[in-house]
Amino acid sequence: MFNIDINKTLHGSNGEMNLEVKCNIKEGEFVAISGKSGSGKTTLLRILAGLEIAEGNMSMNDVFWLAQGKALAVQKRNIGFVFQDYALFENMTVEENLLFVNNDLNFANELLKLTELTSLKKQLPKMLSGGQKQRVALCRALMNRPKLLLLDEPLSALDANMRLKLQNEILKLHKAFGTTTIMVSHDSSEIYRMASRVLVLENGTIVNDGTPKEVMMKDKHNLEGELLELDEQGFATVLVGQQLIEIKYSKEEATHLKIGQLLSLSSHKML
């Protein structure tokens, strides 16, 4: 069990914000942290890892990571962390990146085989594609057999096909090694496919906590979309998810509409 009860004042672009998070995460859970940019997702993840200081308490399986202003050193937490930019050691080959973490050649080979990287193990990171780097970062994060795996938007820089493939790979590794995984993501399909639980962060606090279905299923008859264009024939182009939808609107409605605005679309009328 991972007990979290932390707070920290953040100085963001929107002024001061109080990050205040309290929750318990069970062993083996796959938790997604979702929320708009600037809601404190990455900072929360960094606090969990010990890369940023915060007030409050944190304990992992009854070992205190944070208590009375004292934090357990990053080095002693045994965490796997995948950064958004992968942050591979540029001076080391793929294999050396893994062995630097833990000098266990058999385990490194096993991980590289699982992620189909065996043929690239002597390459330097700069020779790899984004997807390959991501897989190396994931393998490296698992080298210490961490109890807790933290992923900071690990797939955001990849195209849709690669993302799908790596989502499955992450899930496979999560199950195979029985880690507790916490992943920052704002991609709904990704969260739905991978996570068993979602925490939605808004202005530094958890505003929603539940299974992806509970949290993300909106009113069945309501869709939300972004207004992209209003043409003179009385049609509005709206982006819903990745789909463009065309809707007829009246002159009266047009006076209330602004390009870029978020609209609630019901099946029979707009707004």
């Binding site: 937490r77 050691f89 540029e90 630097f100």
Partner: protein, 218 residues
């Protein structure tokens, strides 16, 4: 002309390079932790330390030389090679610290954090992750420090005197030749200095240029 070249006394050059070599080595050892600390700290003392280390760039060598002269008089180090080494370490300090610090500051912070997350200490991270990833900055620091020490004149003039084989480095030798109006030797010595300095700088720039071209480190 050929006769002159044959009888050319190379001792001042050897002394210059010996001085520069030892200074570079000592400064590297001393500056590495300092540059690493400055690149990582958020302490309020950072600007003070930075200003102190940058002083030798701004101060006239005579000022630096004067203070060192006063201190060395107490410990009997004036007009000795050891004294020159210590003085050179002050004189060339910023040329070692600043490129190293710049290199460390330019590193991806996440890469260093990844090392900490892997359970590695700051020292291990410094030597196995940070240092190998700032190779161009490291080379610049070493070469520029070496070259700058070879080019040292004012400080040495004040505290070193001109004892042959002990403190008479190339720059001082040239100064003396001009003073006694031996322009032939002054030309030869100056020409050699010019050539060496240019070749050293050229090789640094070529190396750093090719590193960037092949998408090397940094």
């Amino acid at each position: 002309m050929l006769e002159t070249l044959k009888t050319l006394d190379l001792t001042p050059f050897l002394l210059s390079f010996k001085l520069a070599g030892i200074t570079t080595l000592i400064l590297f050892i001393l500056s590495l932790p300092l540059a690493w600390y400055l690149s990582q700290t958020k302490s309020k003392t950072k600007p003070f330390i930075e200003a102190l280390t940058a002083l030798p760039i701004v101060l006239p060598p005579s000022v630096l030389g004067f203070y060192i002269l006063i201190v060395f008089a107490e410990v009997d180090l004036n007009f000795t090679f050891t004294g020159l080494v210590i003085a050179s370490c002050f004189y060339s300090l910023p040329f070692m610290v600043q490129p190293l610090q710049g290199g460390f500051e330019g590193l991806n912070k996440n890469m260093l954090e990844a090392s900490y997350l892997a359970g590695k200490s700051k020292i291990v991270t410094l030597f196995r992750v940070a240092l190998p990833n700032i190779r161009p900055a490291l080379l610049t620091a070493l070469i520029i420090t070496f070259a700058h020490t070879v080019g040292e004149f004012g400080v040495i003039l004040m505290i070193g005197g001109s004892i042959s084989g002990e403190t008479k480095v190339a720059s001082i030798a040239i100064y003396e030749m001009v003073e006694i109006m031996d322009y032939t030797m002054a030309h030869i010595y100056s020409g050699i200095m010019l050539l060496i300095s240019f070749v050293v700088l050229l090789s640094v720039y070529i190396f750093n240029h090719t590193q960037k071209k092949i998408g090397g480190f940094n």
